[in-house]
Subunit: 223 residues, 2 copies
DNA sequence: GATTGAAAGAATGTCAGACAATTGGGTTGA
DNA sequence: TCAACCCAATTGTCTGACATTCTTTCAATC
């Protein structure tokens, strides 16, 4: 069965672009957790009308990337430690499954892509470009999730990771954490390449545990 | 640490109510999968303006309860068998975890609530009110998920189940399926009451497998 | 001095109306 | 029969407006 190719060229709407822009801004830590997003300011900044902006904000609210309190408007959620822990727990559940499946079904071609993305992260980890680190690390996981054979698993995982992007970005800005991540990711890659499901899950579990600890630390120290 | 009680009374906005109404309408199968939702009609029906409606639609889109194709507008997703299967797989992953955790940590009080909801479902299963069946079954799971100790797990699970509500409603309308569900749910309850995590997970797995088969059947036959 | 109360300013929730762009379907013509 | 074309319906987006609700400031009171 050949993969279905969507020939329809979906016109991108202002609303979609707005959502993407805001999401990216949130990911890159442009807004402080807890800070409010004033609609009129965002409208001016993005050059769109308030109705359009509000549509975009509703999308982000449903993704849990922003809070909207009636009569107080949108703001960046300030995750509690409990919430963060809960997210990491579910992420682990999903990610172990995804990595395990991926190890059993990934194609040679995609495996090569995965290797390339690991190299890209390796380079970023040595550089000072912390945004590049976050991006390349995300690519690595994207490929794994895209090859787990379950698009829903992929989608839910992406949604969860998005919600903790703030702390991931912070911890990734520490060179030590990036280097440590690199070793863990390589271990995951090796296990996947060897088709060793058990090892892949184990390596992944270790990676998440460390990432969680790093995020927690960065949360507590506020660095 | 006492549980935080939110004293702030959140005013309900039109937008929230609109989302709730539409969500409920979708759950109860009021719209045929694939059918389009014309904005002007919905506005008239709901008695609200188009901007407000569109905000609500964006929320539902982000929840994956409706599709919105640019320039064609919103419509009810027609799930493919592959998507449904993928959803059930992830649901199983989450639900087994939730049931297992619940069996270890639920309080006597909540256990009693769970028993009550099981009784309510038992009554509904014998009646002809298929909507009541869906509702009471959902209550049963709500209690389990609320007692798994991880609100994110609960949230993600709810989102997934919402997306297959259409087929669940259809299969629940068959009295045979309801009775079978009852037996499976009782088994889950007994395992939880006994604090037997392994048995709880096993019973839950069986239940999901059957529910999935029923949903698949109802999808294929279109009944 | 601290607390309460009131008033002004800012921001949100919602609406009405409008217009260009796109889609889908039916009609015409070859 | 099939292709091109046109039109009604629908969506995407904007402007502008107004009532409601929050926030803050400032004064008055205890």
């Amino acid at each position: 069965m050949p993969p279905e190719i969507n020939l329809r060229i979906l016109p991108r709407t202002v609303q979609q672009e707005t959502v993407d822009k805001l999401r990216l801004a949130i990911f890159s830590g442009m807004f402080e957790p807890g800070s409010r997003l004033v609609e009129s300011h965002l409208c001016a900044e993005l050059g769109i009308s308030r109705p359009s902006l509000r549509e975009a904000l509703r999308s982000l609210q449903a993704e849990r990337l922003i809070d909207i309190v009636p009569n107080r408007g949108p703001s960046i959620p300030a995750l509690t430690l409990e919430e963060m822990t809960a997210i990491y727990e579910v992420r682990e559940l999903l990610e172990l499954e995804a990595v395990g499946r991926c190890s059993q079904r990934i194609s040679k071609d995609q495996l090569h892509e995965l290797e390339k993305s690991l190299s890209a992260f390796e380079e970023a980890a040595s550089s000072n470009d912390s945004l590049a680190r976050v991006k390349t690390a995300a690519d690595f996981y994207s490929i794994i999730l895209a090859n787990c054979g379950n698009p829903i698993l992929e989608e839910v995982h992406r949604g969860l990771v998005a919600r903790i992007s703030f702390f991931r970005a912070r911890s990734m800005s520490l060179k030590g954490r990036a280097q440590s991540s690199l070793a863990e990711m390589r271990e995951i890659f090796e296990a996947i390449a060897a088709g060793d499901e058990k090892a892949a899950r184990k390596a992944s579990k270790k990676h998440i545990a460390k990432a969680k600890a790093a995020a927690k630390l960065s949360m507590e120290t506020g660095t």
